[in-house]
């Protein structure tokens, strides 16, 4: 696979630059596949392959896709849990992609993450108070008393009683832990919070509690969210704009209403049609059943990665990678159908 130039895939039009908090340009994250005695790299898993999008201040950007599409990797690369293979991560005007861990440290405060698994995201050996104070300690903020006070305030904000600070994570239910996870993300007053499937592991009734809290906090602190999820209904509920990923690539980006009312990419269309009906008597629009399975990201199809399953695939699609183009203002699609 040839590495394509960055400029080619950049969205042609961008809204007012000043209100953009995060801009991702041509982001790639390849994981080497090693084999043999010398652990030679024999190939790459192209988890994220040339993804570009931007998030405006104060908005929620939803990233959806099925498992293995690279949405989580995208999030983790942005927060630099992974070294990006290529591409820019421009946060607040600063490209984070090339920074060393030390140079990155000031930005660590500004971008925080809420994780999927409420059972593994909190260190089981530490009390909730300790977990929540850790960010202060790492960044040398506040006195002991202030830290305590802040921690208690945060617990209160996410709907937990402050006196629970000396309890261990195992004493809490999943929903409560997820709220603690959110509290931890808030400790350093971040500008951007990346939610990596934050409600996927929760019971339905708990899921709505957490979504509501996230909504409230966004308003209160003026937060920007990158919300990663596979549940289209949840994403639609919380997001302002949505990007749809498939096999490491961005298929379509637009605001949520347009996406649901007028999906352009065949993959988005199939995805939406697959959602079970929300009422038994609802008359479902034609369901597009996709054939086969998602190909392996270590050996993605040539051309458009979706062509192997696309009901409308053309010969052209097998050869040429479609660019992500702005078809309507704010509506980006990567599909040859619209050329």
């Amino acid at each position: 696979m040839t590495v394509e130039t960055l400029a080619k895939n950049q969205p042609s039009v961008k809204n007012d630059k000043s209100d953009i908090l995060l801009e991702v340009n041509g982001l790639k994250k390849y994981f080497p596949v090693k084999a043999g005695i010398l652990q030679k790299t024999v190939g790459h898993v192209k988890a994220v392959d040339d993804v570009s999008f931007f998030i405006k201040k104060g908005e929620t950007f939803g990233l959806v896709g099925e498992s293995g599409c690279g949405k989580s990797t995208t999030g983790r690369t942005i927060i630099r849990l992974y070294e990006p293979t290529e591409g820019e991560i421009i946060f607040d005007g600063q490209d984070l992609s090339g920074l060393k861990e030390k140079q990155l440290k000031p930005y660590r405060k500004d971008i925080q993450m809420v994780f999927q698994d409420p059972f593994s995201s909190l260190n089981p050996r530490k009390t909730v108070g300790t977990i929540l104070e850790e960010p202060f300690r790492v960044h040398n903020l506040y006195s002991k008393a202030e830290r305590k006070e802040r921690v208690e305030h945060l617990l209160d904000r996410v709907g937990l009683m402050p006196q629970l600070r000396d309890r261990y994570p195992h004493e809490f239910s999943g929903g409560q832990r997820q709220r603690i996870g959110i509290a931890r993300a808030l400790t350093l007053n971040p500008k951007l919070i990346i939610g990596d499937e934050p409600v996927s592991a929760l019971d339905v009734s708990i899921q709505s509690q957490v979504l509501n809290i996230m909504n409230d906090l966004q308003k209160e602190f003026g937060l920007t969210y990158l919300f990663i999820a596979h549940d289209l209904a949840v994403v639609k509920h919380i997001s302002d704009r949505i990007g749809v990923m498939y096999l490491g690539r961005m298929m379509e980006v637009t605001d949520k209403r347009t996406l649901y009312s007028n999906p352009l990419h065949p993959y988005t269309q199939a995805l939406l049609s697959a959602i079970p009906k929300s009422h038994p008597s609802e008359v479902k629009r034609e369901r597009i059943i996709l054939k086969g399975d998602v190909p392996s990201p270590s050996n993605p199809p040539k051309g458009c990665v979706f062509h192997t399953r696309c009901p409308q695939a053309m010969d052209h699609c097998k050869e040429v990678v479609p660019e992500l183009k702005e078809l309507e203002p704010g509506h980006f699609v990567a599909c040859h159908l619209y050329n």
């Binding site: 099925e66 239910s173 939406l272």
Partner: protein, 326 residues
């Protein structure tokens, strides 16, 4: 329609040193021939243990069905000896599980796993069983069924494995299929494939299905009737449309309200406060009392009964005593 399965006052408890966990605590329902009954509830509601109780597969040690009747096709399964149950399981009642990744034995080929059921229950020869397996695999949508037979489960994707599970479950033409969260672990496009398949099969085989899920969308797609479970008990039993149109029990209402829907836009979702109670910590009175918006004094101390509110619709709530719901 005649009744295929009738569960009466089923109680399956878990015993540990100093505690008794009433995981399933007096469940009543019935399944008619050919219908799909959905059991809906969140984690800890006892829906999975209910299904395992029917199969006589309550996890041991610790779990035990202590009371009730499970009348299947005229016999009480709880009265059957273990030897007699061997003939029921996999043959008359089959089951598919949530995790297609782990529910298939990783060291046996697909073929071995399907044919062993046929050889065991239907006394087929290896060859016949293999032929039948190919047929079954074709039915569940494998074009290259012959090749799949000799593959090991790890070579298949999640959706394919779930289809294998379904083929395996259907192999003996069971009268009842219990599907425990059959699509929860699957991606949405794959889920769609499986749902379509199940719809097709339920028509084709005319089996009754107990569909266990927490996903109301799946219920809306597949079920004819629904029971809603909470805290080891049935809190509502109703037809599918009625549930979505007019849920009776406050929990059912809360549940419906807290699911975001594609076709409506709400700033906030309605939500049920608090947490799903765990069986070692069930409230004394109504199990839902700690989270109920309408809780009354009475609810703290007394357990409401499951009563028929409208014909074919039951609910377990004191509110109905006071003249219907709001």
């Amino acid at each position: 329609m005649s009744t295929l399965l009738q569960v009466k006052n089923l109680k399956t408890h878990f015993f540990s040193k100093n505690k008794v966990l009433p995981v399933v605590d007096g469940v009543d329902f019935e399944v008619k021939k050919g219908e799909t009954l959905a059991i809906v509830g969140e984690s800890g509601s006892g829906k999975s243990i209910t299904s395992l109780s029917i199969m006589g597969l309550v996890p041991k040690p610790g779990g035990k069905t202590v009371d009730g009747e499970i009348i299947f096709d005229g016999t009480d399964l709880l009265q059957l000896s273990e030897n007699e149950m061997f003939k029921v399981r996999g043959n008359e009642i089959a089951m598919i599980f949530q995790e297609p990744m782990t529910s298939l034995n990783p060291v046996l080929t697909i073929g071995e796993q399907i044919t062993e059921v046929l050889i065991y229950h239907k006394k087929m020869s290896k060859k016949e069983a293999r032929q039948k397996a190919v047929e079954l695999l074709k039915i569940v949508g494998f074009a290259r069924a012959e090749e799949i037979l000799d593959d090991y489960p790890h070579r298949l994707s999640g959706g394919m494995r779930q289809r294998v599970m379904i083929a395996m479950a259907m192999s003996c033409d069971p009268k009842l299929l219990i599907a425990d969260e059959p699509t929860t672990a699957l991606d949405v496009t794959v889920q769609a494939q499986i749902l379509e398949l199940m719809k097709e099969l339920s028509e084709k085989f005319d089996s009754s299905i107990i569909l266990i899920t927490h996903d109301l969308g799946v219920v809306a797609e597949l079920a004819d009737r629904v029971i809603v479970m909470y805290g080891g008990q049935v809190v509502e039993e109703t037809g599918i449309v009625e549930l979505f149109d007019n849920p009776l029990h406050p929990y059912s209402k809360g549940l419906l309200g807290s699911v975001p829907k594609l076709d409506e836009e709400k700033e906030r979702l309605s939500s049920i406060g608090g947490n799903v109670p765990s069986p070692d910590n069930f409230p004394k009175g109504c199990r839902f009392v700690t989270r109920c918006e309408h809780a009354m004094e009475k609810c703290l101390t007394e357990q409401p009964e499951l009563k028929e509110i409208y014909p074919g619709r039951k609910s377990r709530c004191f509110l109905h005593d006071e003249g219907g719901n709001e």
